[in-house]
């Protein structure tokens, strides 16, 4: 009869305290990831059922304290004080009590019903810490639950405790003002508390908490009081109180408050924690002695990057080929068969197969490398290594006006710019994140390599390898220069931003955590970036096939637009409609450049697959078998590649067998380009917008304005350098 009961729970805690692990363990796959309204901060919600109770869990951003100073902290504070969750579960790292309990002290002040989870209690025990959990709970008047979330220990107790809270959440509200301030400060806090109690509009807030926040100078608390009727008097009183406090403590009023909280925490720790006689030399510290070593740190990091780069490239490659063949083969084929059965007109069949299906295929083809990348990245982050890498690389990245955290996304850019853009999420400063995202496109991704190879073999013969290396270096040099300039002129605050980062204790990541992370981000890419790519593919199809009934690509809108834009590239030496058209289609993906070129130069008439498909259709059974066998083969190859990568002697530039066959194209290219204009063309390909997926990723991460800025930056930089190469080359008589 009765409605199923629901309990709303917010998870709060420090970064690295294992909050996500608790969240994943509680909610399993029942979770939803979005963004907090108007913010780029990730919001995770989930739910689970315990007996007859549904519990909705909101994972607040990980914060070290609660204030209105960073978006994460503001979100956490606003949610707890204004959305009134029934209970807040504070996840605390049991092996690092002092720092973690600072946030707890603030939560106690808010007065919200609280349950404390002492996570990673096993680590604390290994270190020889003895925590008196019962005394802990008594002193604070709220439940304290020891747990090892990664192993599921303590979850049952937490669920039982939440079940109990559902009867009457107020029983877990901390009983009294636990944090006491120094004489003069305490008097001021009480004075303001009394004044605030008189305001009926603020009954939903703990007056003592509001009083402390007002003294701390918290803008959110200030706005709240200012909006309430009668608030002006309180604010007038605040001014008087602050005046007096400043006379006593100087300008550091907030320090006095923090000091009192740490005093409270230390007092608490003294009563509940027994330390071992001999301070332990932890494994984590021993690993750090090697990893952060002045001489070993950077080589070790570069080696790990090399491993990761190879994993992303090579383990995913067989799957990418498999998906590619699946879409160009059976999927297209059966779509045609279906359309034929429905008597669809030719143009519609072409739109579906050459436009939509090819578009979807070009989205899904990114999925394997994205999954491997997200998995490897999650592994490095969850294990604690990523923070060390940032520490080690900070000095080198300082040159670009970026701090150490930017290095990993940049390196990933050599594999594929799309995951690299997403990887900038690990950079906490927004300006630095955007700046890194703007530089990533200059990192030559693997999709550009085939273009270099085709031109390299047509024009540079034995020196092709050298040309390819030069292009990679030009990309790095351009990124360095652009970073140096942008950091000084567009993002001055990034240049001055302070590098402060916690290096969490090393731990073995859980498979569930890694998988959830991988799945979340990959599916997000498919949903968001996928729509954009699909749209552009369909648009390109229309441009190639309009005006109605056009047969020569030169006469199509695509050809006409290319022809109109061609003069722009005259100074760079490749102002033909074909080259321009290839560049335009390269906007969608660099993979398309070569195929467009063979279409427009060699004049390969696109045999409508409609006709060929009627010749001798393989049965559906055959196709399914081929697909499954293909997948198994891809898995075997990926496994081989994985082992290969872990053994030395791998080549960074696997020669693409497919391109060697394009001799007709080589001949055509030699007619259309000189070696100099070919090199200028390659420089352009290297530096302009990598692909639609990158634009989509940038839009998603930084907003469309920055994505547009990135496109403009790419187009202009590419043009300037291509022209410079061509003109200087001509002056030197190489043209």
């Amino acid at each position: 009869m009765s409605q199923p009961r629901r309990l709303r729970v917010a998870l709060a805690g420090n970064p690295n305290a294992g909050k996500s692990t608790v969240f994943n363990a509680l909610t399993g796959s029942h979770q939803h990831v979005g963004n907090w309204p108007g913010k780029t901060v990730e919001k995770k919600e989930g739910s689970f059922r315990y007996r007859d109770l549904w519990v909705d869990v909101i994972d607040l951003p990980g914060t070290y304290s609660l204030s209105a100073y960073s978006p994460e902290e503001r979100i956490a504070q606003e949610f707890i004080t204004q959305e009134h969750p029934d209970v807040v579960v504070n996840v605390v790292d049991a092996s690092n009590l002092e720092r973690n309990l600072y946030l707890t002290a603030q939560l106690l002040e808010i007065g919200v019903p609280l349950i404390i989870v002492l996570n990673m209690i096993d680590v604390a025990e290994q270190l020889g810490y003895e925590i008196d959990v019962e005394r802990f709970s008594q002193l604070l008047g709220v439940p304290v639950i020891p747990a090892v979330a990664s192993k599921g220990q303590g979850l049952e107790a937490l669920q039982a405790s939440l079940y109990q809270a559902a009867q009457d959440p107020a029983q877990f509200a901390p009983p009294r003002a636990l944090v006491q301030y120094e004489h003069e400060m305490e008097r001021s806090v009480r004075q303001l508390t009394e004044a605030l109690q008189a305001l009926p509009d603020l009954q939903g807030y703990q007056p003592r908490w509001l009083a402390v926040k007002l003294i701390e100078g918290d803008a959110q608390a200030h706005a709240l009081v200012a909006a309430a009727p009668g608030g002006e008097q309180v604010l007038a009183l605040l001014e008087k109180v602050l005046d007096k406090l400043r006379r006593t403590y100087g300008e550091d009023v907030d320090v006095v408050l923090a000091d009192a909280r740490y005093g409270f925490v230390r007092g608490l720790i003294r009563q509940v924690l027994t330390l071992p006689k001999q301070p332990p030399h932890t494994l984590s510290d021993r690993i750090d002695q090697i990893v952060t070593n002045r001489w070993l740190g950077i080589p070790l990091f570069l080696f790990l990057m090399y491993l990761m780069f190879n994993l992303v490239q090579r383990v995913s490659a067989p799957y990418m080929d498999w998906i590619d063949s699946l879409f160009s083969g059976p999927v297209s084929h059966w779509a045609l068969v279906a359309l034929q059965a429905l008597h669809a007109p030719d143009w519609l069949a072409s739109l579906v197969v050459d436009g939509a299906i090819a578009g979807v295929g070009s989205v899904l083809v990114f999925v394997p490398s994205l999954m491997v990348m997200f998995f490897a990245l999650a592994f490095m982050e969850d294990s604690g290594y990523l923070a060390r890498a940032a520490f080690v690389m900070d000095r080198m990245m300082g040159f670009l006006g970026l701090n150490g955290r930017a290095f990993i996304p940049m390196i990933l850019g050599f594999g594929c710019n799309v995951p690299a853009v997403y990887a900038t999420r690990t950079i906490e400063n927004r300006g630095a994140r955007i700046l890194t995202g703007l530089l990533i496109p200059f990192m030559s991704c693997s999709a550009r390599l085939p273009v270099y190879v085709v031109f390299g073999m047509a024009f540079f013969g034995a020196r092709a390898g050298l040309v390819v290396w030069a292009l990679y270096l030009i990309g790095i040099a351009t990124a360095s220069l652009a970073g140096w300039i942008l950091a000084r002129w567009v993002f001055p605050e990034v240049h001055q931003s302070v590098f402060v980062l916690e290096l969490p204790r090393y731990r073995l990541p859980t498979l569930q955590g890694l998988w959830l992370h991988t799945w979340e981000h990959t599916s997000e890419f498919v949903r968001k970036a996928g729509t954009v790519i699909l749209g552009i593919s369909v648009l390109l199809w229309f441009l190639l096939n309009l005006p109605w009934g056009v047969s020569d690509p030169k006469e199509s809108y695509f050809g006409q637009v290319s022809g109109a834009l061609a003069p722009v590239f005259e100074p760079a030496g490749f102002g033909t409609w074909q080259a321009t058209g290839a560049l335009i289609s390269g906007f969608v993906a660099k993979e398309v450049v070569i195929s467009t070129m063979s279409q427009v130069y060699v004049g390969e008439q696109q045999t409508t697959r409609f006709e060929t498909s009627t010749a001798e259709p393989p049965s559906l059974k055959d196709d399914v078998r081929t697909a499954v066998v293909g997948f198994l083969k891809a898995t075997r190859d990926a496994g081989k590649a994985f082992l290969d990568v872990l053994t030395p002697g791998v080549s960074l530039f696997p020669q693409d067998e497919g391109v060697r066959r394009q001799t007709a194209l080589s001949r055509a290219l030699r007619d259309a380009f000189t070696p100099l204009s070919a090199f200028a063309f390659l420089v352009y390909v290297l530096l302009y917008t990598p692909c639609a997926a990158t634009i989509a990723a940038q839009t998603q991460e930084y907003g469309w304005r920055w994505a547009a800025f990135s496109v403009a930056l790419g187009l202009s930089t590419a043009w300037v350098l291509a022209v410079a190469v061509y003109q200087v080359g001509r002056l030197l008589g190489w043209g």
Binding site: Y64, P279, R395, V498, E502
Partner: protein, 91 residues
């Protein structure tokens, strides 16, 4: 250690291994709040674990924190004579 116990010095000058107590932080309110939340608060003790010339690697209680050199220069500490690494618990 040769440093006299009462002398104030920037964190960058604290010899690696030596425990120091934070006395003052010269930073804007926003940054100061952030540092204090991470344990870098006046009254707490800190030890330099590694100084490669770039950012410092600090032990603050049980936490390990990487701090840019520029910021570390603006944190004033006092060397604590008792070099117990986790002095912060034996206040």
């Amino acid at each position: 250690m040769t440093s006299t116990p009462n002398m104030l010095m920037p964190l960058t000058m604290l010899p690696p291994g030596q425990v120091g107590r934070i006395v003052q932080i010269h930073a804007g309110q926003r940054l100061k709040q952030r540092l204090m939340g991470m344990g870098l608060a006046p009254g707490n003790t800190v030890r330099v674990l590694r100084d490669n010339g770039g950012p410092l690697l600090l032990a603050v209680g049980e936490s390990r924190i990487a701090l840019g050199r520029g910021m570390a220069h603006k944190i004033l500490v006092q060397a604590v004579s008792d070099p117990i690494p986790r002095g912060e618990f034996v206040s």
